[in-house]
């Protein structure tokens, strides 16, 4: 794991009463997303998380669909590539099994704000080019190995440009509150323009992450959604 130094996370979208800045204590983050090989060890040891046994409540019908079998990832899911098609519940169970946890949104975004060679990624032109090139490409049938990605300033690989990643508090993103009318937030946040409350409207990728998180249900799995684990420092 790599240590991410303490820092300030500025939420992208917030209501008038939400914190403008969140102080994030230093924490540890996996150097790369969890791989198919690692997830195979997890489902081998925990049969209730195998594809054929998992409850639909905890993972939808496309859970690990790219694997050949319950205990056989196969050619579409190379051992060293990030595991995808995993639900939030499954990611969380894996993290607990390893004695870790999922990172919070604030932690993940703080880590992902780093550039390749500098702490402020938003001023790293190469990182931005790589990130937007990735966003423009369709999801590959087979994901690349995380270890092949260039490490960032903190020594973390693949936060951008590999797969989307679950966070512990994904269900704090309330963009959908508007259309469902089920929260009190929309009055503060969404009066016609979804980005009106945005801190930095130029951070297009952050909007995409926010939109993805707010669209997800905890049992959803997708072709490009994986996870990595975090740990608090003692």
């Amino acid at each position: 794991m790599r240590t991410i130094p303490a820092g300030i996370y500025t939420p992208l979208l917030r209501s008038t009463k939400a914190a403008a800045e969140i102080t994030v204590p230093a924490f540890q983050l996996d150097e790369r997303p969890v791989t198919n090989a690692e997830f195979l060890a997890f489902v081998t040891a925990n049969p209730k998380w195998r594809r054929e046994q998992v409850s639909r409540l905890f993972a939808d019908s496309s859970y690990l669909e790219n694997w050949v079998g319950d205990l056989e990832p196969g050619p579409s899911a190379p051992a060293d590539a990030p595991v995808v098609r995993v639900s939030w519940f499954a990611a969380r169970a894996y993290a607990r099994w390893t004695g870790k946890r999922l990172p919070t949104t604030a932690e993940w975004e703080l880590a992902a704000a780093a550039g390749y060679d500098r702490p402020d990624g938003k001023n790293d032109e190469q990182l931005k080019r790589d990130l937007y090139a990735w966003l423009a490409r369709p999801v590959p049938a087979v994901h690349a190995a995380a270890a092949s990605f260039r490490p960032d300033f903190h020594g973390v690989r693949g936060l951008h440009g590999l797969v989307w990643e679950w966070v512990e508090d994904f269900n704090s993103a309330m963009v959908t509150g508007e259309s469902r009318g089920d929260t009190g937030l929309e009055r503060d946040l969404f009066c016609g323009a979804g980005s009106a409350g945005a801190k930095d409207t130029t951070d297009y990728a952050a909007f995409m992450r926010q939109a993805l998180r707010s669209s997800l249900k905890a049992n959803n799995t997708t072709t490009a959604l994986g996870f990595r684990c975090a740990q608090s420092l003692p």
């Binding site: 209501s15 939400a18 914190a19 704090s172 309330m174 509150g177 469902r180 929260t183 905890a218």
Partner: protein
């Protein structure tokens, strides 16, 4: 509400009640087992959810009766929320797992006690749903409030809220830690976020669970839908 038998009894007592329960369960139905346990173990009182658990019409008739090990793996249906690991504390300070609600229709809402706008309306709506039920169903259904506020809504604060709102024994008020709340919210599809003033933005969802803990209905928002929710409770209890 009541604590599961296995958590409050001593190990020797637990062994005894299990043995008794096994014997009776093998000969008769889970109902008999449950009623006898209610009589034999004082902490399993008349209104106790442990009693409700004992009375559960177990979908899977395993060799181990659901009344004795409500949280045994495989005991709950594939879509039952009661499979979740999360543990809570009720407003009397006793440990509580959602599996203890098994056997009765449940109307469940996530809220926080210091909420000044939506939550009082949600609780009032839950009371209105209860008021729409025929008397026998009214006493059978359980109304559960689970707080987002892990810091302020201690069991004591929830007990105070119960008194303020005049919530009787058919209401279960639960406090949980951050992980338990996050997991339950994820299962229900509830989104929430704490604001700087300590209040929470949250989905307004009233969820109806059947006796197995499966979601059978959700009322979204703050307006209307009470008849439909009451009908769902009736169907869940039939």
């Amino acid at each position: 509400m009541k604590t599961p038998l296995a958590m409050k009894t001593t190990s020797s007592t637990r062994l005894t009640t299990r043995n008794v329960c096994h014997t009776l369960y093998d000969k008769r139905s889970g109902w008999v087992c449950g009623l006898l346990l209610l009589g034999a173990v004082t902490m399993c009182g008349a209104e106790g959810t442990a009693g409700a658990c004992c009375a559960a019409e177990s979908a899977e008739k395993t060799s181990r009766p659901a009344c004795c090990e409500a949280m045994a793996s495989g005991a709950f249906s594939k879509n039952s929320l009661y499979q979740a690991d999360a543990s809570f504390t009720d407003d009397t300070g006793r440990a509580f797992t959602l599996g203890q609600l098994r056997g009765r229709p449940v109307v469940l809402t996530m809220f926080f006690a210091s909420c000044g706008y939506a939550c009082p309306l949600l609780v009032t709506d839950m009371q209105a749903i209860r008021g729409r039920l025929p008397a026998e169903q009214r006493d059978r259904a359980l109304f559960v409030l689970v707080s987002f506020d892990t810091v302020r809504d201690t069991p004591e604060a929830l007990a105070k809220y119960r008194a303020q709102r005049g919530l009787d024994g058919s209401w279960v008020l639960l406090h949980g830690d951050g992980e338990a709340i996050r997991e339950l919210a994820a299962l229900l599809g509830v989104k929430y976020q704490q604001e700087t003033d300590g209040m929470f933005s949250h989905s307004n969802l009233i969820t109806v669970l059947n006796a197995e803990g499966e979601v059978v209905h959700q009322r979204t928002g703050l307006k209307g839908g009470l008849d439909e929710a009451a009908q769902a409770v009736l169907r869940a209890g039939s």
